[in-house]
């Protein structure tokens, strides 16, 4: 199977503080990979290194076949990114936002028009293309933001707590979009605070104090930690954290 993300002994130090401590894992093409951890466990730092935004202190990693040290510009071309905080330009319309982000990735005008129509109808937003993003309900915005993050059909999409604060139905609709993207072969790398969402992932890794303390399918983890849900697994692991003060 194709390995879309590989990390081996990936480490990031800030001065004497080791934010990410020799983590190693691989993610396959089309896999939905859950990345969990308490605040300050090192999730964001690890994700930044993989996105080519921050250089590792030591260790190796590749994303979409590109090296994080030398080819971070190529990595940026081949990934999509969305976070809860990332909302599109609120004073642009749906169509303008899609156009803008597709344009950044160098898509041709023709392709953009086609893609925009497909995307709008897939999201059932037809007729609203000229609506300003700030006038959309939060759930729509998040779904739109996700669609825009994968508009250039990247190899990997990084989702940083994408579903915070949305209603339970929209949250599930959002997961439908994730499944569809994964079915198209896009690898999904996601962090979340909702433990039931962790169970939707193919595999889950849990970070504690900068290390990966558990990595398996949700079912495997529940078995290993003798818990009926991921909440129990997470609490058992996160309670061991020494890094409390940060």
């Amino acid at each position: 199977m194709d390995k879309v993300i590989t990390a081996s002994n990936l480490t990031k130090k800030f001065g004497t503080f080791t934010a990410v401590d020799h983590i190693s894992f691989e993610v396959a093409k089309g896999e939905i990979f859950g990345f969990l951890g308490a605040n300050g466990a090192g999730k964001t730092t690890a994700m930044r290194m993989l996105c080519g935004l921050s250089l590792p202190t030591s260790g190796d990693a590749t994303v979409a076949g590109f090296d994080v040290y030398r080819e971070n510009e190529k990595i940026k071309r081949n990934i999509g990114y969305m976070s809860q905080k990332f909302s599109m330009y609120e004073d642009l319309t749906i169509r303008e936002n899609i156009r803008f982000y597709a344009g950044i990735y160098g898509m041709s005008d023709e392709a953009i028009v086609k893609k925009t129509d497909a995307l709008v109808s897939q999201l059932q937003m037809t007729g609203n293309e000229k609506t300003l993003v700030r006038e959309l309900p939060l759930g729509w915005r998040q779904k739109l933001a996700f669609s825009i993050a994968i508009v250039h059909e990247p190899a990997v999409v990084f989702l940083d707590e994408p579903t915070g604060g949305v209603d339970p139905v929209t949250r599930r609709e959002f997961w439908n979009l994730i499944y569809q993207a994964a079915a198209l072969g896009i690898t999904v790398f996601i962090t979340t605070h909702y433990m039931d969402e962790a169970e939707y992932c193919d595999r889950v890794c849990i970070m504690v104090d900068g290390r990966i303390d558990a990595l398996d399918s949700p079912a495997g983890l529940m078995k290993e930690f003798k818990s009926t849900n991921m909440d129990g697994v997470f609490l058992q692991l996160a309670r061991k954290a020494q890094r409390k003060a940060d």
Binding site: R172, Y200, A245
Partner: protein, 312 residues
């Protein structure tokens, strides 16, 4: 005695010329003294607006609200002396230390840290080792504890916590709820809002809210009891395809993913197992499993949303 009453509350915000956003639409509920009352709903449901009206920060367009028997419009000065409020963004001075923040809030509420130390001891003790540290350098969980200490320092009769657990990790969330339950024993009424449905069970009573409307007010158990239809949990090796197959059956009312299972409800409660077995058999799904399941708050929330047409 009722600590907080809200009756027919309406709150609108102007949005462009002549149009308004109806943030709160005719909401009524009441909170008993010493109760932990949860307002549960997604972002944009109107939680913060309700809190701001009750904390006298906003004037409502309609309805009548009281806190501690006092009117939120007329007696706002008196109410401000009695309540504790922790807004959505933890309102701390990032450039002041933990100790300086606490001291500041104690003084503006006309009290001292020493006077009410007993009340916050439990919470503050956990961050006291870092009292010289600037608030801006604390982790989410610690900021949350400091903000709670600041909201409690003047021994309020009613405590308003607006999304205190948003953006805080699961461990800190759990610890936070344990703290709230200890505070409850001191007789403080607590109103808390949250978008996390799994926190509903930790409240004495809850109001489910969506798009400015209350879907239901009851105890958590009471709400799940209102869910009359039987619910089934189904799983197989291919979850996504399974859901599409289930939804294709016209007898199915709803099917939502819940962790490793799909929760399925039928229009009519008859021969459900057979119908599900048939779907699994015909779709050639491996490792199929079907079992009855008790609906949770989230199931009820989704069912109520659908019923009252507040989705979309």
């Amino acid at each position: 005695m009722q600590s907080v009453t809200v009756s027919h509350l309406i709150k609108n915000y102007p949005a462009g010329k002549k149009s308004v956003v109806e943030a709160v639409r005719d909401v009524s509920f009441s909170v008993d003294k010493g109760e932990i009352f949860g307002i549960i709903g997604p972002d944009g449901a109107g939680k913060t607006s309700i809190f701001r009206v009750l904390t006298t920060l906003l004037l409502a367009e309609g309805g009548k609200c009281t806190v501690d028997g006092l009117d939120v419009v007329k007696d706002y000065k008196e109410i401000r002396k009695r309540i504790g409020y922790m807004p959505g963004k933890f309102s701390l001075y990032q450039d002041l230390s933990v100790q300086e923040n606490l001291e500041f809030f104690a003084t503006i509420f006309n009290t001292t840290i020493e006077k009410n130390y007993d009340l916050i001891k439990d919470i503050y003790a956990q961050i006291e080792p870092f009292k010289e540290r600037k608030a801006g350098q604390l982790s989410g969980g610690m900021k949350q504890k400091l903000a709670l200490s600041c909201a409690l320092i003047h021994k309020p009769t009613v405590l308003f916590l607006d999304e205190p657990t948003t953006g805080v990790d699961a461990v800190s969330r759990k610890e936070f709820w344990e703290m709230l339950h200890r505070l409850k024993t001191q007789g403080i009424t607590i109103l808390v809002s949250t978008p996390y449905m799994d926190e509903a069970g930790l409240c004495d009573r809850i109001a489910l809210i969506q798009k400015g409307k209350i879907l239901s007010v009851n105890t958590p158990k009471g709400i799940t009891k209102e869910f009359k239809k039987p619910m089934w949990a189904v799983r197989s090796a291919e979850m996504f395809r399974l859901m599409n197959s289930i939804l294709a059956d016209p007898a199915v009312e709803s099917c939502y993913p819940f962790g490793q299972y799909h929760h399925v409800v039928f229009h009519n409660a008859e021969n459900e197992i057979q119908k599900l077995e048939q779907i699994i058999r015909e779709g050639n799904f491996q490792n199929g499993e079907i079992k009855p399941v008790e609906p949770g708050i989230e199931d009820c929330f989704m069912a109520l949303m659908k019923e009252q047409g507040t989705h979309g």
